[in-house]
């Protein structure tokens, strides 16, 4: 997809959001009707006008056909995202250490690093650093199972 097309879609979504935001201010109650509602409308009008102007400019003048390149290596990009989401999902039940002990080497290998000794030492170093600095010195409470 071209950058121009995605930009237009984003601007259209922002304009729609501005309209909905403006309308939603009517549902504010009590003192918020004369205060917060006006602020929300102020923001909605401002962003709506600017986005409409930008969309009009894009429709009338923008002739570029540059592709939107989010990443040049999708498997690694998606892999990191999936690993992050899994890390977050198990964070509360398993705590930091076990997921991190798996996350760091898996992502390093996923990104093409093959020096297993360096990966192992780095993982151990990070875990030891978090344990000593965050748990022992700073008393940060981490969830779930900790060493």
């Amino acid at each position: 997809m071209t950058k121009r097309s995605v930009d237009r879609i984003v601007l259209a979504i922002i304009i729609l959001m501005a309209v909905l935001l403006y309308g939603s201010a009517a549902n504010f109650t009590g003192i918020a009707r004369t205060t917060s509602a006006k602020y929300v409308r102020f923001l909605a009008v401002f962003i709506g006008v600017l986005s409409s102007g930008q969309l009009a400019y894009s429709l009338l003048r923008d002739r570029s056909l540059d592709k939107l390149i989010v990443t040049t290596h999708w498997p690694r990009f998606i892999g990191l995202l999936v690993a992050l989401v899994i890390f977050a999902m198990v964070f509360e039940t398993l705590g930091f250490f076990i997921p991190a002990a798996i996350f760091i080497p898996v992502v390093a290998v996923l990104l093409g690093f093959r020096n297993y000794l360096a990966i192992g030492l780095t993982t151990l170093g990070v875990l030891a650093f978090v344990y000593i600095v965050f748990i022992q010195i700073l008393s940060v409470n981490l969830p779930g199972f900790n060493f």
């Binding site: 504010f28 109650t29 205060t35 909605a44 986005s51 989010v70 890390f87 977050a88 990070v126």
Partner: protein, 497 residues
């Protein structure tokens, strides 16, 4: 003042500042990692620390990272931070000529002078400016936030258009509306999610927008090979060139002033200082081929931003740049709301923090003069090992502040959303400034409307308000004129082709 000096010069404080500064130099020296990323990532962890020590640690990281970026820029032609790009233009050719020793010496000296000068300005002027803020009512507070928004416009560069920078800023302000309405106590746009009752905390957003995005970009990037030949080359020992002080002074002044302007960052400061230096230099022809004057101005400029950016942050609650925004987060989580209170009620924390920046500058001066060539090797750490480590800290940092996994999802969401916006040319700095300025603007606006009995004239009544409108106009009009000129030129170009 002596009691504040005693706090700074205690053994534990000196150790904290030294650790922060050395860590900052190392982080700044790693391409892809920035001061904002490091400070943003570590703010949640200072929550359980003594506030003064926590702030000193972050201040050290800020100072160290600003300087650290110049080391790989000079030795490997790989700027550790965007602010060190101008340094690479002059520093790398010098390294290839066997003059890296001089380039590194000029860089660390200029960084030290720039950082120290701007901290001195912060120390002298911040309390005065904060006192002026006592005269601000809700209307002026709202206008202050608008001024910050107007400053966003100047963030716009070749990658992010002026209108898009404003849209991003407003988007941040709209995201800040989510949560409980302070006026009525009712919930707004929470979609029934209890996690959103207190609104969207800007720390997960900051970590997502400035740390995780960089990791996602690095993960999807093909690794470039770095030329390490300069590291092994025999380097000459040279004295500081004559007349360099003029360029350091120019960079220090320019960086400090640019740092004070909301939204202006170290990269802009470094480039503007570099261009000024080029203009006044008697050796213009050497620029681009290894001129130490360019390094002096650029490095003094980007380090001058440190103290400068903290002036509006600490006094008015308007962050001078994204690192200052992250630091402001640290003040807020310790219950220290920027403004006059920082210099009265919390003076025993604020002044030691400011004084610690002088020490941090001294620490990186020593580190730079002694270990710079060895530190350049940090830039050779492969991104494949850096990405999982920083990502793990990003997850930990997002979680640690509120002990909420929801914040981790928010961080990932902001990273993805921000990456697309960034690719489309929207300014992420503007987005985060909008998110921070949102509650300030809303508080000022709603209270102003109550005082003005629903009339918007309250925002134009006082003399301070009138002056602020003039400043907003001055901030808006010149970039708007140049933007319109650019649009016209583009249109003429399209017609002629």
């Amino acid at each position: 003042m002596f009691e504040y000096l005693a706090i700074v010069f205690s053994l534990s404080s000196l150790l904290t500042i030294a650790i922060g500064t050395v860590a900052g130099v190392a982080i700044g020296g790693m391409p892809g990692l920035t001061a904002t990323m490091a400070v943003g990532l570590l703010v949640p962890f200072t929550y359980t620390m003594d506030p003064t020590a926590g702030l000193m640690l972050l201040g050290g990281i800020y100072c160290g990272a600003m300087y650290g970026g110049s080391i790989p820029a000079i030795l490997l032609n790989t700027p550790g931070t965007p602010a060190a790009v101008a340094t690479a233009i002059e520093g790398y050719p010098m390294s290839q000529q066997g003059r890296a020793g001089l380039a590194l010496k000029v860089s660390v000296t200029a960084s030290y002078v720039g950082g120290t000068f701007s901290t001195l300005i912060l120390l002298l002027f911040a309390p005065l400016l904060a006192r002026q803020a006592l005269a601000f009512g809700p209307a002026e507070t709202f206008l202050l936030a608008l001024m910050g928004l107007a400053g966003i416009i100047s963030i716009a560069d070749e990658n992010s258009s002026l209108i898009k920078a404003l849209i991003a800023g407003l988007l941040g302000m709209i995201i800040a509306v989510i949560g409980t309405d302070d006026m009525s106590g009712s919930l707004r746009y929470t979609m029934g999610m209890i996690e959103l009752i207190d609104g969207i905390d800007f720390m997960p957003a900051l970590i997502g927008l400035f740390s995780m995005i960089q990791m996602l970009e690095l993960a999807g990037m093909r690794q470039k090979s770095i030329d390490t030949s300069a590291l092994d080359k025999t380097q000459k020992s040279e004295p500081m060139p004559r007349g360099i002080a003029k360029h350091i002074a120019l960079g220090s002044g320019t960086g400090t002033v640019i740092g004070i302007l909301p939204g202006e960052g170290a990269t802009i400061a470094a480039f503007i200082s570099y261009n000024f230096s080029k203009r006044i230099s008697k050796m213009k022809e050497l620029f681009g081929k290894g001129n130490p004057e360019g390094i002096a101005a650029a490095e003094a400029g980007n380090n001058g931003c440190v103290g400068g950016s903290l002036v509006p942050t600490l006094t008015l609650g308007i962050p001078g740049n994204s690192v200052a925004a992250a630091l402001m987060g640290a003040f807020i989580i310790h219950g220290m709301i920027p403004g006059p209170d920082l210099f009265t009620e919390y003076a025993n924390r604020t002044y030691p923090f400011i004084l610690s920046l002088f020490v941090a500058n001294g620490v990186f001066l020593i580190v730079g003069l002694t270990f710079a060539p060895y530190l350049a090797r940090i830039a050779l750490i492969p991104p494949a090992i850096m990405v999982p480590v920083v990502s793990a800290f990003a997850v930990l940092g997002s979680y640690a502040l509120n002990n909420a996994v929801f914040d981790v999802y928010l961080m990932i969401g902001f990273a993805l959303f921000g990456l697309i916006l960034k690719k489309l040319g929207y300014s992420l700095e503007a987005l985060i400034l909008g998110l921070i300025l949102g509650p300030i603007a809303e508080g000022g606006f709603t209270q102003g409307m109550i005082i003005g009995k629903g009339s918007p004239w309250i925002f134009f009544e006082s003399n301070i308000a009138k002056v602020m409108w003039v400043i907003i106009a001055l901030l808006l009009v010149p970039p708007l004129i140049s933007y319109l000129k650019m649009v016209r030129q583009n249109a003429a170009g399209v017609r002629s082709s």
